[in-house]
């Protein structure tokens, strides 16, 4: 996976190659491996050590998917050898045709949905910026993806009449976060304890760390502040703005 530098960074400062982003410096779930049960150890270790080969997507599609995935769950702050494989996990799921147990009636099967979605995204890039998606600047890539996220594809594309854009977005984004947040390096980043059997937890309240966990050490994490995918202050999208009644009761 090639690391892509972030072109627009007026206020965000240099993005550092972090072995471990997040506020739990020194915390490693993998270091606890010996305390896990055998089956779990195998499954998690394999996830880290054996990245599945690409078998479903063609190399062109894979390159496009990689570019998309790198914006949906960006990892530019991660050191090159600490990147979490996301698109191989998606490729593997589609190759094995692993279903999640259902399909929306207005959606094509997952495999087809991905092929259609990739095609639409690339054609949108061509139409709007006259370049393939993979060659666009990060900002332009984000413009296109954000329009999908917002459910208002810009430019419009006929595929989104056949396949609801919000469903495709959810499919894609959920696959991305599943791959990312089931990786032990992501657990280290967010301070999640990881597998916990046979050793469970003893400090359940007040956010106390287990003896082998690490306390939070906050600092200014240097995500690019001008990225289109940064949340605004309160985070909630407009339609979910909260009732003003902060703390009031009925």
């Amino acid at each position: 996976m090639k690391q892509k530098s972030y072109p627009l960074r007026p206020t965000g400062g240099e993005i550092r190659d972090l072995a471990q982003p997040g506020y739990y410096s020194g915390f490693s779930t993998l270091a606890q491996k010996k305390k896990w049960d055998e089956t779990t150890r195998q499954v998690v270790t394999e996830r880290v050590e054996k990245v599945p080969p690409l078998r479903f997507f063609s190399s062109g599609e894979a390159e496009l998917l990689t570019a998309i995935v790198s914006r949906v769950i960006p990892q530019d702050d991660r050191a090159a050898d600490r990147m979490i494989p996301v698109h191989p996990a998606i490729d593997e799921r589609l190759f094995k045709n692993e279903l999640n147990g259902f399909r929306y009636e207005d959606m094509p099967p997952d495999r087809e949905a991905y092929r259609l979605g990739l095609k639409a995204i690339d054609e949108m890039a061509q139409k709007r910026f006259h370049e393939p998606f993979v060659s666009l600047t990060v900002h332009r890539q984000e413009l296109i993806l954000k329009s999908l996220h917002d459910g208002k594809p810009d430019p419009a594309h006929r595929i989104w009449q056949r396949m609801p854009v919000h469903r495709f977005w959810t499919l894609l984004a959920e696959d991305c976060v599943t791959a990312y947040y089931s990786h032990p390096w992501a657990w280290d980043e967010i301070g999640f304890g990881g597998p916990a059997y046979p050793r469970g937890y003893m400090r359940l309240e007040n956010g106390l760390p287990e003896p082998w966990e690490v306390d939070e050490q906050r600092y200014d994490w240097n995500a690019p502040v001008d990225s289109l995918s940064e949340l605004d202050e309160q985070g909630a999208p407009p339609e979910q703005v909260l009732p003003q009644a902060h703390g009031s009761s009925s």
């Binding site: 055998e38 089956t39 999640n100 259902f102 089931s182 937890y201 359940l204 995918s229 985070g235 703390g247």
Partner: protein, 570 residues
């Protein structure tokens, strides 16, 4: 040390599967063939086997060895769910799969969070009291002794005094609170709402026979490798096997066969290699979950039953219900670490009943939820529209968030239903299509419920509160009732149309209140079993329909049921 017993098929950290299991040949006629060894199927098999019947339970999924097959990992637990294709639609389509049903011995009880509250007495009289929904053909008081018995069998840990519905206490002591439970209790207390801490939940707060105490690892929904959380795989199936039942795993029932005399005579099923078999049985009980049960009956259509077996009323598949399961997430200044402790450990039922001052009928419960990272990330995507760097940023704060769920009653509506889609699955069987629409009452209830829960979150001291809509717990779709024109089964689960065909699982619920359905499903199964045992051979050789209450049998419980647990206050 028993823990280090590496031999044999493990069920939790100490228990092993009794070996060997009795095996019936296909040509042998058994007494009961049960389709699905899940929450209901497991209890049925255990009771009927203890009473001496010849039992085969067909289970589509595997017979789990908890030590080899399960992991303490979110993504690695994908196989616990029913992942085969289903189509979902309607105006408010339900996400199925991981969110709904299990596959494998234990069924949904393998991955349930194990919240085990009872229904309220009012749940059985919704139509009489509120002129919406339906009445049950039985009352709370018919089921109460079974609630008490199951609470003792699986067993349920909870407060000494549960103040709502029919107030009662629990046999096992409450659990310690985790960070999320603290938030729920603190928020409720600030608003003057009562809450209960540490249960009711079917998780061990003390060892129980060869099952250990919970270790608070929070992987309940991934299947409890410890064996602390109750699932019929470890509570009832071992005893069923001990008493001669056969649990035939990796056997997918394809259709139920109807004989010329209008009675069923067995089940056609497909084994792991795709071969077809026919299991002869004197009676069949379908316990396949609220989607697979109607699907199997619909797929078993034959002459005389062109619209599916036992569907003369046309209601088979209809009145499917889910519960509103909105998740409210609050960010706190201090750390919470929501991944610790079982997801299910505190709740409030202050808003459970109909309140005439509100503009909708029925109510909701407030419960803790405990998503692990991938699930939490998805919730943040939905609740905040987070993606990209924004998502990375909120996720880095995961340990500052607490999540509390609404569990709201959605009424049974005719247009919410299970049908057959055109598509077929890997066995060549038509898959289920689920249609779901919210109605006016449901929408008002959800709106009200999520506001109340957000207030609890604010009151607990959150500095940011967001929410995500979702649904949980599918039931209905083969409902019970006294009128054969508007229901599929009678009050014991016997289909109105076919005297030796029964349905016993969540599909028979006419309404579902705001309590998680698992305990009620198991209590109903125990009651149906008592009925079948009382009827004895009459089920096999006569078409007579006896509607007398069987009386509860206390001598059919699995081991370790008696002389355990705190004295009950009520």
């Amino acid at each position: 040390m028993s823990m280090l017993n590496h031999h044999g098929h493990r069920l939790g950290s100490m228990q092993t599967l009794p070996a060997p299991m009795r095996k019936y040949a296909d040509r042998e006629t058994v007494d009961y063939c049960i389709v699905g060894a899940g929450s209901a199927g497991g209890v049925l098999a255990q009771r009927l086997a203890r009473a001496g019947f010849r039992i085969v339970a067909l289970e589509a999924g595997p017979f789990w060895d908890t030590e080899k097959d399960w992991v303490s990992d979110e993504r690695g637990s994908h196989e616990l769910y029913w992942n085969d294709l289903r189509i979902t639609g309607g105006k408010d389509p339900l996400a199925l799969g991981a969110n709904n049903s299990g596959k494998g011995v234990g069924g949904g009880s393998v991955h349930w969070a194990a919240f085990a509250p009872r229904f309220h007495p009012s749940d059985f009289r919704v139509y009489s009291e509120d002129s919406v929904g339906a009445d049950w053909p039985i009352s709370y008081w018919d089921l109460k002794p079974y609630y008490e018995l199951l609470e003792q069998e699986i067993p349920v840990a909870g407060p000494a005094w549960f103040p709502w519905g029919d107030p009662h206490g629990y046999p096992y002591g409450p659990h310690p609170l985790g960070g999320v439970g603290d938030v729920l209790v603190r928020g409720c207390a600030k608003l003057g709402l009562r809450s209960v801490a540490g249960g009711p939940v079917a998780i061990l707060s003390a060892s129980h026979g060869d099952r250990p105490h919970c270790i608070y690892r929070g992987f309940c929904i991934q299947g409890c490798k410890v064996g602390a959380k109750a699932s019929t795989l470890i509570t009832h199936v071992p005893d069923a096997i001990d008493h001669g039942a056969e649990i035939r795993a990796l056997s997918m029932a394809a259709r139920i066969s109807l004989h010329d005399d209008g009675r069923v005579d067995g089940v056609l099923y497909i084994d792991r290699d795709g071969n077809e078999h026919f299991q002869r049985a004197r009676a069949v009980i379908v316990s396949g979950y609220a989607i697979e049960t109607p699907r199997l009956l619909l797929n078993s259509a034959c002459s005389g039953h062109r619209h599916g077996l036992a569907n003369s009323s046309g209601t088979l598949g209809q009145y499917l219900m889910a519960q509103a399961g909105n998740v409210v997430a609050g960010r706190f200044d201090e750390l919470i670490r929501l991944y610790k402790a079982p997801p299910a450990h505190a709740l409030s039922e202050e808003f459970y009943e109909t309140d005439k001052r509100r503009d909708f009928a029925r109510g909701f419960a407030i419960q803790t939820v405990g998503p692990l990272p991938a699930a939490f990330a998805k919730q943040m995507m939905n609740a905040m529209g987070a993606w990209g760097w924004g998502l990375r940023r909120v996720m880095m704060d995961m340990n500052h968030w607490a999540t509390i769920g609404v569990l709201g009653e959605i009424l049974p509506w005719e247009d919410n239903r299970v049908e057959l889609a055109e598509e077929k699955d890997q066995y060549g069987l038509r898959v289920a299509k689920v249609t779901f629409n919210l109605h006016d009452n449901d929408k008002k209830l959800i709106e009200f419920g999520k506001k109340r829960v957000m207030e609890v979150m604010w009151a607990a001291g959150a500095e940011q509160v967001v929410q995500e809509s979702r649904y949980a717990h599918l039931v209905g779709a083969a409902r019970m009732g006294s009128d054969p024109a508007t229901s599929v089964v009678d009050k014991f689960g016997r289909t109105h149309d076919i005297p030796n065909l029964f349905v016993c699982d969540g599909s028979i619920l006419p309404t579902q209140g705001s309590a998680n359905p698992g305990l009620t499903i198991q209590a109903l199964a125990a009651r149906t079993a008592d009925y079948l045992i009382k009827q004895g051979d009459a089920i096999f050789f006569s078409n007579r329909r006896d509607q007398c209450e069987p009386g509860i049998r206390y001598d059919l419980s699995p081991p370790y049921t008696n002389f355990k647990g705190n004295p009950r206050v009520a």
